[in-house]
Symmetry: C2
Subunit: 216 residues, 2 copies
Amino acid sequence: MTIIRSVFHDELEGISQSLVTLSELVSGSMAQATTAILSADLSLAEEVITKDQKVDQIHHDIDARIIDIIARQQPVASDLRALVSALQMASDIERMGDLAQHVAKIARMRHPQMAVPPELIATITAMGSAAVAITQKMAVVVATRNLEMALELDRDDDEMDDLHRQLIAALLDKPWTHGLETAIDLTLLGRYYERYADHAVLVSHRVYFMVKGEYA
Amino acid sequence: MTIIRSVFHDELEGISQSLVTLSELVSGSMAQATTAILSADLSLAEEVITKDQKVDQIHHDIDARIIDIIARQQPVASDLRALVSALQMASDIERMGDLAQHVAKIARMRHPQMAVPPELIATITAMGSAAVAITQKMAVVVATRNLEMALELDRDDDEMDDLHRQLIAALLDKPWTHGLETAIDLTLLGRYYERYADHAVLVSHRVYFMVKGEYA
């Protein structure tokens, strides 16, 4: 019994490590997508778009491994909860990759024009940095199950929401001179960064649920 | 063994029925949210927003029941796949409810003004109808596992994408006279309906995967 438990926990640990790997990949994508949109860098945008296939592949691989572990080990109670939570986390992180890809697609669509007007470069830069920082903290939470840190992500998400409000306010506060297409792009960009951070928060809540058996 | 299998399949059938119930609830929310946004109906918008708590509660209840079935019945192979797929479907359908709520929140935010200008009422009406129709077909796919119908949802989603393109084109084709706030609202509305339909397609793909063991 002891040996089986140990194999199980090694497998679970392996899943956590794969989730961290996936988080790092996705965080890198969002960093690159932000650079691509702020510098109208087509090849970087293409790289992010192509890399999303790798994210999807790792996601499917993690899902298959989790289902295989459940079938072989037949876990119950907290062990089963941990695996189901891991399935949901993998799905959230994969979705974060999609959102990074969406940012890159706007960069590609507008190339060689800049999608972001000069006065909003600082805001989008800050949203990109906030997205990368929240992913890195999320990865630490997944790896360490540090619940105090898990709850910090709610506050980090508030910062992203503030940046999002600043972005929308900038569109509305003065007469807008950059045309409707740019306004649409910025509305969608704001939504993508905001949703990206929302998924990171969801992942941290799932870690909390996994450890405590209830939601924060 | 026969009796245990039968109990298992009754339980799985119960989960499918709950997913159908959740789909109907969500479809009703999107229908009401569309009416609310097209008639600036505050009380209807509030109703949709409040109802989302019920959607979340049913979602959590389905999740808990699925985890309980896995723990007690220890299914393997296609039975386990069916339960994991059901977890993912419940999550998608709950997200569709969130998106209906987002539509309702725009109606509430703009009340007593209309969020949708007269020349775009037909397009948003069509997007609302397409959303309801795709959810109803999705519910039939979940209930019957009809794979031919499951694949039809891809085409239904193409129609939603066409409507979404029409909406964006209407924003860009002529000089826009409704202000930037309305343009932002319409950009987000378009995104919400499009994502809603995407999740319905994902559910139908998960039914396909559940039956075939591979993606369509």
